[in-house]
Symmetry: C2
Subunit: 581 residues, 2 copies
Amino acid sequence: MNCIMLFIVYLLTFIHFSYCEVKYIEIKAPLKGERSDPGSPWPLPRSWTRTIATLTLAPDTFELKSAHSKDCDIIEQALLRYRGLIFDQPSSTKISPNHRELESMRVTISDTSCGYPKLGDDEHYTLSIPSYSHGATIKAKTVWGALRALETFSQLVFTKNQDGHNYYLINATTIEDWPRFSYRGLHIDTARHFIPVNILLKNLEAMAYNKLNVFHWHISDDQSFPLESKLFPNLTQTGAYSPAHIYRQSDVRRIISEARLRGIRVIPEIDTPGHTQSFGKAFPKLLTACYVGDEPFQAKYNVHGEAEILNPSRNYTYQFFKDLFTEIRGLFRDEYIHLGMDEVYPECWESNPEIREFMNLQNLRTMTELEQYYARRTIATAKQIGYKYMIWQDPLDKGVQVSNDTIVQVWKSSDEKRNWQDDVRSIARKRHQVIVSSCWYLNKISYGPDWIEYYKCDPRSFEGSLDEKEYVIGGEACMWTEYVDQTNILSRIWPRASAVAERLWSHPRDTNSTDDAQFRLDEHRCRMLRRGIPAQPIGPGFCGPYDLTSNANSIISSQNQLIVLMCSLLVITRINFRAIF
Amino acid sequence: MNCIMLFIVYLLTFIHFSYCEVKYIEIKAPLKGERSDPGSPWPLPRSWTRTIATLTLAPDTFELKSAHSKDCDIIEQALLRYRGLIFDQPSSTKISPNHRELESMRVTISDTSCGYPKLGDDEHYTLSIPSYSHGATIKAKTVWGALRALETFSQLVFTKNQDGHNYYLINATTIEDWPRFSYRGLHIDTARHFIPVNILLKNLEAMAYNKLNVFHWHISDDQSFPLESKLFPNLTQTGAYSPAHIYRQSDVRRIISEARLRGIRVIPEIDTPGHTQSFGKAFPKLLTACYVGDEPFQAKYNVHGEAEILNPSRNYTYQFFKDLFTEIRGLFRDEYIHLGMDEVYPECWESNPEIREFMNLQNLRTMTELEQYYARRTIATAKQIGYKYMIWQDPLDKGVQVSNDTIVQVWKSSDEKRNWQDDVRSIARKRHQVIVSSCWYLNKISYGPDWIEYYKCDPRSFEGSLDEKEYVIGGEACMWTEYVDQTNILSRIWPRASAVAERLWSHPRDTNSTDDAQFRLDEHRCRMLRRGIPAQPIGPGFCGPYDLTSNANSIISSQNQLIVLMCSLLVITRINFRAIF
């Protein structure tokens, strides 16, 4: 009797050990919702049919292959990368004797282009793991679809302990999948704090695990200018926090290259005409001197600094940014640049006599007209050098009109006076494509499972025609870094941005229960942890032994994992032996 | 002219580079308050006289010595440790040619006891760095005072770049210092999430950097029981999350030993009679079966689980905990145990016929009387095995009377119905010593610089007599871990707990400006970062090159630091050369 009891304990321990588990906050309020099976993907595919037939994979001999890997480094690298991600747990190298073996996965694409990802790319894929054949298949039109499919495939694989061995298993499954939105972004501010390159690279990995496809890089701001410019080296020599806090152009190229391999666009933001104080250190002529009375360079607390916001009255300003944007266009490979244009407070411009004179000459009667002058001229500059462009919503709020091909990012959250959905509708009616961020400001932390609010937010949840809703082409989670740096950025982004990622990829009909989603999200956060992303927990519980060594920001040493696992297995085995003998 | 300009840039870069700097959120609202000089200590000493005379230290030859180091491992280890902490930046090994050298620091204590720290220890010290002599002195009554003094001394040392060399400097200084409160605690819950041993050890280091002296270890709760018991091995075999999520007794001994070396007490909390579901897995008899109608083991959503809260009617319960407490008393070395006693909801007890019968027999008329029965008997058990004890405030809220020597921890925060200061006063009037945590729940995160609210909170800010205020013997920052694990615990505790630490150590008269304190706190958080604690930022800005490699939870490799520094110096030197030639 005692032996049987202990054997049950041993089995229970095994189950505990193999799978992650999120727990209640209080006994009296157990978690609602349906627990997901191991190997449940995040974000949820469009159509996902899973059978009970379970296949086994052999880490040493499983073939992950594609006829395109010779011609396209994206495919070649992805196959290598996903082999590591699929077989990322210490395990038996043998196949489970109780299951049919899945011997291979073949990836096929019909359009073999192998360039940079761009807005509107086809990411459709089908994934078939038949129960009757030894070979699985991924079919996609483009390489980007193939990347999304490989991510899904890697998530379907799980491990299970049987008879003291840890086997890789997968259910026979058919998936057809494509994203709801083409623009699925994550924004990081590297000006309030410099975020080290290795953290940005790790973040790109996490984005790929969540099928996010745009890294919106808010490079510069008032506080610092960290991007090396060969044309204007003084920008970082005076504008960066220190010589150590600079993104070299080689760093940028590496980031863009790693992003491309994961189907992630990198859109640089050079925010103007506000948020530009760091430019003024090397190029004081760019900024507007703020006046108090007749005195220039006078700060007025809570109104303006001594000098701030670009001077829109000087040709010098436009020429400078034309040159800078041209350099940036050569460095960053995306079709788009984000031009910022948020939070242009009029007080400093108003106080400056040179600007008042310029307005008279140009017949600009209001500050809004001046802002419109700046916006149009800057957008024209960007267009002239071959850029497409995005801006924050602020100019449109004030009635500034910009050319129709400008993508507008709605960021202001709802309060007593405004409702972000109204902003989206109003901008969509002006026939601008819209990116929604209002409900996804990850920096605005709050206690508890705030992913739930992110999950519930829908970028198309405004009253409007179908046609108007089509103008919403995506959304973006934003991480401003006033209170965030390398110590906490990754744990604070993940898995909170995962909630946004599923909202932007999956069909809302299938993803309307946070009670159900929490279990899949928990598995996904544990998966990220296993892959070296220090994603924070969504509730009490644990993952696996890898959560003990998964120090934030450090890549998990698989050796360490192995040691922990082996020690744990020894403990378990001891219990087991005690039970049997 | 251009040369001079560039030389100024070079100097500015140097200043940037040497010192950390916290920045404004918006240009229009520059930070208020007085910037502290480098080498400003946190928490602020009682009396601190700093002269402009600056001395230089030679890392290779500086003597940090004490006559007591042979007899007391605490002193011996501290001298070794602080040598590393003082000289923790890549630097020239030479002394600055422009300053007199400080050749040594001699530590003297009058009471040479070298045991475990306890409540009420004398932590007074004087520290003298004269400008006219080559030797500095620390004098303290106890080893604990000497530890606090060494911490302060290590914080007074700073580095400065002169002529391309990085020198260690210190101002001639006189300090007399002692803590305002004897109990300065930090509480960590290791039941909602298992916090790995290396993280707990790192946290002890950070506590020492902040002169906190009590680690209140909330070991177990409903969700898990992670403490190895030799007496009841089933407790962890079924109650721990997994065999990997257990604190072995050797782990506990190591934690206590490292804490002792830093003058930190470790108080274990075994929370009863609520928060005990994890005990029930191995010992179901301990728990109360909850009834719905006549049916036992019935959960009622948001009221009770199937079985929960210890069964106070069985002698078995008291005997079990007597045995467990006895084992714990032998393992943990502190005089105190925390007995919990929070959040005892009456519904399950009320529903159970066995308990109703017991109440009849014992003539207990109300649930409060039953709770009082449990509390008194459990406290008597603790007393019997030689323990002193603490509890949470809950029993006293309900009118339960417990013996006067029970320390009561006030944790409930103010809301519409209650005011925590009233709770403190009411408990102090009942002549219980009080620990305040109400305003220091670190887990309840909010956006922005929430350290300010922690800093403003004073545990004696209630209307009461001086005598009543004396009953408040300290405070404690609490980190509950529902949403916190190894990925985010250290960055979330630090430097927010530093605000609490200064409030508990320093005189409120000298620490009433958060505008001034922010600069010293910023320097302190950068100091912690340099020492390998991933303390999060309090605002925009940067520390030094070490903030690039200071991955959370990983000890900074000084080699990496050196490389970053050398690269940076090369850049600076290039600027410099360009300026001169």
